[in-house]
């Protein structure tokens, strides 16, 4: 089977070279050159000196953080509730099913729901609250993004909750823990791997939801993802676009390092 290894390896290596390494090298190359292909750090200088870019970066980070946080807030209890239901497979499927509807269709639905005479404003109208402009606000963007990402947070948390041996919960209760103590000291730490992969699955895509910022956030919400799209497809300044892209990659690496950091335990002398 030895010579066959090359047969399997070659096409795969070709793929890695062409679609993983080459694009990375190219985007890095573009970020380090100007429009005339001269080597320069000017793009990065522009990014870190201008307030606009830094504010944009902070904004993206903040939005992604909020989206991830609200997702976790909604999804964790839902996943926990799911572990106590009968027919869990069925209910889980109902949670997953909306992910099969194209993201843009769901975003499009909110254009109707959030419009000045849409469902939400009709509902508010019942209480005499006049039409509120919800579209093209931070709220609308964060709400829709959270809505879209919820299933991707419920899934990993549910899976990690299911892996907890029920005997551990009995053991905790046996040792005198109340429901909340069991949650805090046993369930939460043991489900952390699921929370972690949920955060990774949501935080990073949230940085690049440019279609949502365009459709729901109007041009008021500008994230790094929106900027990349704008520089590449509208203003055609690929060098600046690539620079923002490289910074996005760096942010992503930081998030991954932060969430997968191992905790150090202090030693106890007896």
């Amino acid at each position: 089977m030895k010579k066959n290894r090359l047969l399997f390896l070659l096409p795969y290596l070709l793929w890695i070279g062409l679609f993983v390494i080459a694009p990375l090298v190219l985007i890095l190359g573009y970020s380090l050159t100007d429009a005339h292909s001269h080597l320069t750090l000017q793009n990065f200088a522009a990014f870190f000196s201008g307030g606009t870019f830094l504010r944009m970066m902070a904004n993206s980070f903040w939005y992604a953080l909020l989206i991830t946080f609200f997702c976790l807030l909604v999804s964790y209890p839902a996943a926990l509730a799911l572990t106590r239901l009968k027919n869990q497979q069925f209910w889980l499927m109902l949670i997953i099913l909306p992910t099969w509807i194209n993201l843009l269709l769901k975003a499009y639905a909110f254009i109707g729901i959030f419009s000045r005479s849409g469902m939400v404003n009709q509902f508010l109208g019942l209480f005499g609250i006049g039409p509120v402009g919800i579209m093209f606000t931070d709220f609308a963007f964060i709400f829709v993004a959270t809505y879209i990402e919820i299933p991707f947070m419920v899934m990993p948390i549910y899976n990690s909750l299911k892996e907890i041996d029920p005997a551990l919960l009995s053991a905790s209760s046996d040792l005198g823990a109340s429901f909340w103590q069991t949650f805090r000291y046993v369930i939460w730490p043991l489900s952390w791997p699921g929370v972690e992969s949920g955060i990774q699955a949501i935080f990073i895509p949230s940085l690049s939801l440019f279609m949502l910022t365009r459709l729901i956030g109007g041009n008021r919400v500008i994230t790094l993802g929106t900027a990349v799209e704008e520089y590449f497809l509208t203003t055609m300044n690929w060098n600046m676009g690539a620079t923002i892209g490289v910074i996005l990659i760096a942010l992503m690496l930081i998030v991954m390092l932060l969430t997968s950091r191992k905790q150090h335990k202090k030693e106890i002398e007896l």
Partner: protein
């Protein structure tokens, strides 16, 4: 002094399965009890009801004279060593053992002192900073015990907790569990399907089957005088023959009449006779009470297990310190006290009552 009392406990699950039928038992403090039975016999259900993980369908649970039937598991002064130990994988040995004390926000110095003592009791000094995943099965077992005794419970429940260990370690832990129980002086309730384990460690054994207590008593009582053929078969190896009572102290089986030590049974009544394989001695054909032909034998290290066919076709199991020739005709010999006669369908109470009537005469 009575510490645990189960009063007419029944348990029926939602799907209609009856796990326990009218269980009554009283346990004294400071003793080692075993609940022994095959899987599905209800022994673990009893344990879970005492611990508070499962609610009984009817009946009451008393602890130290107080009704705790509706008390939450977290509020009972009873702790459990779980079947697969249920150690918290995200905590190390120290944190696992200290768990109950941390919940009660005891001062750090007290926690350290107690954890140290508990680890010493289970002979795990110096293991405090180990991760659970680094421990062997036997060590995990000890951590589970240390964690359960840290709260100084009056009753410790042990759920099949030796079954995951290999045979050698299991034997070792049997001695150790018994030693820990003696040292702490608290009540142990040990659930097991392994009769050897129960016989080796317990002060008293409850044999369960189909959600009912079949027999309770000291290991010796249960082994020597099983109340029915379930208990006889479940505990130890046995030869069970059908027979007929001739009169008091005389029984007929295998086509012959024998002197025995049982009485109080109507003459002519059909009975079952139990003979333990180690009570049977192999003799020359003429010297034996019965004649058998050796079919096969297994060497077990300290004895031989011999299978032999009697003249009536019954297959005998005999334990012997000396080997025999396959196909050889031998005699088997036993004393009247080795014969144990069981009445069909006799309950434990009836058995005890009958024993009263003639044992006084000796």
């Amino acid at each position: 002094m009575e510490i645990i009392k189960l009063d007419h406990i029944t348990k029926q699950y939602d799907d209609g399965f009856v796990a326990l039928k009218d269980i009554n038992l009283e346990l004294e403090s400071g003793k080692f009890y075993s609940l022994l039975g095959p899987s599905g016999s209800g022994k673990t259900t009893i344990l879970r009801i005492i611990a508070g993980f499962t609610e009984a369908s009817a009946g009451k649970v008393y602890f130290d004279g107080q009704d705790i039937t509706n008390l939450d598991a977290s509020k009972r002064h009873i702790n459990t060593v779980f079947q697969n130990y249920a150690l918290f994988p995200h905590l190390n040995v120290y944190e696992n053992v200290a768990f109950a004390l941390k919940l009660r926000r005891r001062p750090e110095s007290e926690i350290r002192e107690k954890v140290k003592d508990a680890l010493h009791t289970v002979r795990l000094d110096g293991y405090a900073n180990r991760e659970i995943s680094e421990l062997s099965g036997g060590q995990q077992q000890r951590v589970a015990i240390a964690r359960a005794i840290i709260n100084e419970p009056k009753v410790l429940l042990l759920d099949e907790c030796l079954s995951a260990l290999d045979k050698r370690l299991r034997k070792e832990m049997q001695f150790e569990l018994r030693a820990i129980q003696k040292k702490l002086g608290i009540t142990f309730i040990f659930v097991t399907h392994d009769q050897e384990e129960a016989l080796a460690m317990s002060d008293e054994i409850f044999v369960l089957n189909d959600g009912e207590i079949q027999q309770s008593g000291s290991p010796v009582d249960i082994y020597d005088e099983p109340v029915n053929d379930f208990v006889a078969r479940f505990i130890g190896d046995s030869n069970i023959l059908s027979g007929r009572m001739i009169r008091d102290f005389a029984v007929e089986f295998a086509g012959k009449d024998f002197e025995c030590a049982d009485a109080g049974i109507t003459p002519g009544e059909k009975v079952e006779v139990v003979l333990r394989p180690e009570d049977l001695d192999i003799t020359a054909p003429a010297a034996g009470k019965l004649m058998v032909t050796v079919q096969s034998q297994l060497f077990m290290g300290d004895h031989f297990k011999i299978k032999a066919i009697g003249q009536d076709g019954f297959e005998w199991l005999i334990h012997s310190t000396n080997g025999v020739q396959i196909g050889q005709e031998v005699g088997i010999f036993f004393d009247p006290e080795d014969i144990h006669v069981m009445r069909l369908g006799e309950t434990e109470e009836e058995f005890d009552a009958r024993l009263e009537t003639y044992e006084g005469e000796d």
